[in-house]
Each structure stands twice: as structure tokens, then as C-alpha cells.
Amino acid sequence: MNLQIEVRTAEEFIQVVPIGEIDVYSAPAFKEELFTVIQNTKKNLVIDGEKLDYIDSTGLGVLIGGLKRMREKGLSITITGLNPNVHKLFTITALDKPFNIKGA
């Protein structure tokens, strides 16, 4: 599969780093990993998008599901470092509003 997922715990937040592509094929694996992190965290979540080469609507759907769960816990998701091609999809789908998107 063209996706690796790293999880790093910082003092203030927990960071998830998807490396590669989140598409219809890799989205189930990403969902499982992300939702496990969300279930177990009491900290806000940061998704480091710098090494995310590609995301499709399936991947965006998983992020929406994750945000819903985080909000139920009173927590937030911040997404950083998205490349312009990936960021464009957040803009088109108006997901740049519910997510806290930071950086170029």
C-alpha cells in the first residue's frame, strides 16, 4: 500500500503523519489508525500533511469522521503543511473551514 502512518506524541498534542497517498484503497487503514488514536487521546490532534502526496474524497470522508469524534470529546484537529494540490481539495469541498488548516 502506498501509505505509511506515523504517530508522535508531543507534550501539548498528538501528531499523525500520513506519508504517501490516502485514497479509496488506503483509506480503511488510515481510518483504523486515526480512529484508534482519537479514541485514546485527551489531547488535540495535529495532522502533519507535508508528506501527504494525494488525498481523495474517501480520505476526506475519514477526516470528517475523525473531526466529528474529536468534537464530541471537545477537542480539535489542526492540519499543517499541506501541499497546494492537496490543499485545493480542502478548498473545493469547503473543508478548509471546519478544519484548522495552518501553513503553506
Binding site: D23, V24, Y54, D56, S57, G61, L89
Partner: protein
């Protein structure tokens, strides 16, 4: 006009390969990098849509690329469509929105248990 046809099993696993074919072809045609990426994204979405609509009985996804001097037209279809899977299902909305935004034309047709999606993008002069 040149025509390229790709027939692949209706499986998520092969969507990345389908995307590659579209970006390779768009690159040959002389689209710029951003347009190549748009076309790749939309081909991926259209495959996703077909996979979501397909019945378990559906075996193959058919992708036809029609290449003109100034236009790339792509036709994606799947044989057996699950009647329960509405073309308006909520999961498809984002996917549709992406393709509508990035392509010049986008048509979805469902007829005789067969879904056919057509989209095209013009080469800017």
C-alpha cells in the same frame, strides 16, 4: 483522435494504476502540471464513484480515454450496478463536487443497470 482503453477489475487496489494512466496521458498531451494533477484527481474520483455504485457481481471497470488535439475526454463505466446504491448517495457528494469543479464537463448516466460517467478537459491554448 487516439483512443486508449483500460479494463480493470472493480477493486480499490487498482485505482492508483488507473490514475497513473490518466496522468501519463495528460502529460503526453502537453497539459501543465496543475491540469495533469486535476485530471488524475478526477479520474480517481470517478473510479471511486463507480466502485461505490457497483454490485458485488460487477467484475470490470472500463475506462476509455479519447485524445484529441485540444481535448481529453474520459469515459468510465461499470457493468452491473446495485439498484440500492443511489447515484445521489451522500458519500458521493464530495466526490461529485470535486469533479464538477476541476473538469470542463461531467455527465453521469445510469441506464439498464449500467453506470456511465463522462468527463472532459480542454487544453488551454
Amino acid at each position: 483522435m487516439d483512443r486508449i482503453d483500460l479494463r480493470v477489475p472493480v477493486k480499490a487496489e487498482y485505482v492508483s494504476m488507473n490514475r497513473l494512466v490518466s496522468s501519463s496521458l495528460a502529460s503526453l498531451m502537453g497539459f501543465d502540471i496543475e491540469a495533469i494533477d486535476d485530471i488524475k484527481v478526477c479520474l480517481g474520483e470517478v473510479c471511486n464513484q463507480c466502485i461505490q455504485l457497483a454490485d458485488l457481481k460487477a467484475e470490470y471497470l472500463m475506462i476509455g480515454f479519447m485524445r484529441d488535439e485540444e481535448l481529453l475526454r474520459i469515459e468510465v463505466s461499470v457493468d452491473v450496478v446495485n439498484e440500492g446504491n443511489e447515484l445521489t448517495a451522500s458519500g458521493l457528494e464530495m466526490s461529485r463536487l470535486i469533479v464538477e469543479t476541476l473538469m470542463d464537463d461531467f455527465i453521469v448516466a445510469q441506464e439498464n443497470g449500467r453506470v456511465r460517467i463522462e468527463m472532459s478537459r480542454r487544453l488551454e491554448a
